[in-house]
Amino acid sequence: MSFLAPLFLVGLAGLAIPVLIHLTRHERGRPVRFPSLMFLDRIPFQETSRRRIRNWVLLLVRLAALALLVAAFARPFVRGGVLASVGGPGPEEVVILLDRSYSMDLADHWEQAVSRAREVVGALEVPDRISLIAFSETPHLLQRSVADPRPVAAALDTLETSSLATRYAPAVKLAASIVETSTLSRRRVVMISDFQRSGWRPDRDAFLPDGVTVEPVVIGGTDTGTDGGMGPGDETSAAETPGGDNLALTGLVLRRESAGGRERVAVQVRLVNAGSGSTQADVALSVDETVVETSSVTAPPAGAAPVAFNPFTLTHPFTRGEVRVSDTGLQEDNTLNFVISPGGDIRVLIVDPLGIEESNLYLRGALGVAQGAGFTSRVIRGAPGSSQLESADLVILNGGPFPGGDAGDRLRAFVAGGGGLLVVLGERTRVPQVYADFLPVTVGTINDAAGERRRLGFVDYDHAIFEAFRGARSGDFSRVGFYRTRSVTVSGGQVLARFDDGSAALVEGRRGKGRILVWTTGLDRYWNDFPLQPVYLPFVHRVAEYLGGRGEVPLWHRAGSTINLADLAEAFGAFEIPEGAVAMDPGGGAVPLDPETYLLRLDTRGIWEIRPPGVRSDPPMALAVNVDLAESDLAKLDIEEFLGAIGGWEGGTGVEDASGEDALGTRPGVAGGEEAVRTAQQAKDFEERQSFWRFLLAAAFLAMVSETLLANRLSRHTIKGEGSGV
């Protein structure tokens, strides 16, 4: 017999109170004042007799009532023996966390997991309640705290694995929110998963409340593989990886090249072998659902082998490609999908005040150096004509005055229609007053750097132009020296780069569908040494691509990501999402699009289509979605460590593998503080289940009632006796 609140036992000292009162009390309530006791002096109670305990039964009943009351508050419980089962185990709140990440597709893991979930559901008793959470990257609450297990069983019948990776923390948080609000005496979380190490990132908020028992059910063995775990890209890991052999495709690279006026694309992937032996596999490339090439590759054990395919001709936008490897392991990581569209050259019209090729040597040289789809440039003198603008994607005013009159209007219309304009300020740059509002800046005087050359002090790396330079060793703009600049006053534009004196270097403005960039210094060697720096070439390319309308279009998206279709369509160029369009997932299901945000969550691997309403002959916009290859790493978690992190470690006996056997054995060693906490929690569980205090309280109440009845009866009896004795 133990007590949850033993301090209340101090109250047993109160047992002495009735005895003391009985022995020491001389008066009975407030005395009745009376003129004289001369006629009463012969009939008082005998005090001496009151000093003796005459009614032992009454005293014992009173003492028992007090003792029962104290014992009830002390919350007694029994750890072992027959009494330990008194009151029954009590109702239980059970939460099933079922891992449905795509790694559960390995072998018969999913079937095992569902089977174990059914066993948990089948073992429920009438007062129990159950919740079902299927989780991968995000948890989905399929049933919440229902008493009827049938809907849970029905949900298990229809549940399938997803294309997403495992994330334990969100699932644990959701389970915690359920058990926290539960009023049942016992709470248990059954986590059925293959417990991949890649799915757990320590999260302080992912913590189950005290008193919750966690029952991990490990699918696919419990070897943690701490030495052998490897990711698809980890080619140096050599030890055995749990979960058997598995091949995965990663590292998709597309290389564009022009041949005979047509754009060709060469595909290269990397085949990763996570197994312990060398594996030969056929890797096939399909374009628009037609296999164009198959390559037999031998992947070294715990290594990777490159697979290169011959270029294929890109004929139409949204061409769909697929690289597939034949593998008996995980299926989801055997396929890489991609969507690619013909790029084409960006047509650049350089307007030079002198109209000579030499003055644009570096600029034209930069534009001429491009892999695959690149740039075609031509230099003209004076204002561009209509035909020249129609055949251009981008106009660069390289140091000359802004054209006035009709030419200026045409240029303004060109930008408003979606064309790009780069204004490079030079010594002769003049802007007519009527176009002062057209440019995002007001051009000022020429500034010569005094002493030290100016440097770029601020670059907006979040902008599409500079994003590629964000990383380390991705381009150093600080080495560029500027001797002369034109001062500008920014009006209605966004400064993308500033010199170290705070003046604007690159300013962007949007007019209609087009964009304008103003570069406040030259793009040749006269005003700076920019053309001599390594970042000049990529900078020119990024600016030309940005203004020419060729955005960054990803070849594929990761499953589980959410994209903004509007931004994506803009990156495609002139492509617009038609009104009423719907997204079709790879399974053919329609996903309605929100016309306000055009946000789309891609949670299924394969090719997604954005279909306009009605029948169209041109290919619809398509998106490729591939799984998160982190899920291909089948290395196991250290379950003790994991349970300790989420606050559900209950000792070795609670962890089972799919066969139902103890998977952890005895606990290797626990700090004294943790042991104390665990013991206290167990004591609380015992006490809550047994709830002896209820019985004790009821018994105390009965004892009090008995005391009242007995005391009244004895009182009447005493009066009769005394009356007759006078």
């Binding site: 003129p35 006629f39 009939i43």
Partner: protein, 304 residues
């Protein structure tokens, strides 16, 4: 013609509860006595040793013994002979103000009842031309007013201010009374007589032996007579502060028997000593006390 000698019907101004609302004892006494005398249709003046004053027509309620029959023979009309009352007796009140007199189970404590009674008798006697004095005592004399025809106000004031707070005793205060009340007169003792009847009778018999007329008013609260308590309680003596646990429902009958025996014994012993003994219940109007005193006074005057 009817002789009215019985007590008057209960009048509201004789009810102790009503009297408790009157703060002025003189007003209270005059109201009570006038009302009482009017109720019994008797003249306020008593006595035989008096000088003739005048005749007046007979009015119903007048004592027919006072009709001047000689005048009736001459005039054929009833006339009453009026005299100047002249008794000159000393009347001393022995008012018990011990703590037991402060007891009251209802609205009127015994001491208040005793106040009203003393005030009424004093006013009545002063109107009779008696000389009134006061001895208020517990275990000693706490208020003393020498008997005098002009001391009615002092007596009333002293009666009004006494409090029943201390232990009571008979020996010491009665010794003081005996040393100061030497002229033959009347002693009216107002007390609850919580003492041995033999001692009370012995003390009052001493005054009788000195030639005083003594009347004893025994004031009792209804609870002292009926003992209506039901539950087992601790009873505390108001004078000694002693506490005794008592089971009233079993001892009430015994108590009542003992109180009855005490009263009977007092009546018997005081009767032997020639002391008039009157028991008064504080729940009853004052008229019975006044009437008893009236009878006593008439008798004592005849004796003289």
């Amino acid at each position: 013609m009817t002789k009215t000698s019985a007590p008057a019907p209960r009048a509201s101004f004789l009810d102790p509860v009503v009297l408790a609302r009157i703060d002025n004892l003189e007003l209270l006494a005059r109201t009570v006595v006038d009302g009482f005398l009017q109720g019994i249709h008797r003249s306020p003046y008593l006595g035989v040793s008096m000088d003739f004053a005048e005749h007046r027509p007979y009015m119903p309620g007048d004592d027919i013994r006072r009709i001047d029959w000689r005048l009736y023979a001459r005039t054929d009309r009833f006339h009453i002979k009026q005299f100047e009352a002249e008794t000159n007796a000393d009347l001393g009140f022995l008012l018990d103000v011990s703590a037991s007199m402060a007891y009251g189970s209802g609205d009127i404590p015994k001491l208040d009842y005793a106040r009203y009674l003393t005030a009424c008798l004093a006013w009545f006697s002063a109107a009779q031309k008696d000389r009134v004095g006061l001895y208020a005592f517990d275990h000693e004399v706490v208020e003393y007013v020498r008997p005098s025809a002009a001391h009615l106000d002092k007596v009333l004031h002293a009666v009004a201010r006494v409090k029943g707070e201390r232990r009571g005793d008979w020996d010491s205060p009665l010794t003081q009374v005996a040393n100061t009340f030497r002229r033959r007169g009347i002693l009216a003792v107002v007390s609850d007589f919580y003492d041995d009847p033999e001692e009370v009778a012995g003390a009052l018999g001493f005054f009788r032996a000195q030639g005083h007329d003594v009347v004893a008013f025994h004031i009792l609260d209804p609870a002292e007579i009926d003992f209506p308590f039901a539950h087992i309680s601790n009873f505390q003596d108001l004078e000694t502060r002693e506490i005794l646990p008592v089971a009233p429902e079993k001892y009430a009958r015994i108590y009542r028997d003992r109180v009855g025996a005490h009263i009977t014994r007092l009546d018997e012993l005081l009767g032997k000593q020639g002391v008039d003994y009157v028991t008064l219940n504080t729940a009853e109007p004052l008229d019975r006390a006044l009437y008893a005193y009236l009878v006593f006074r008439q008798r004592t005057m005849k004796v003289r």
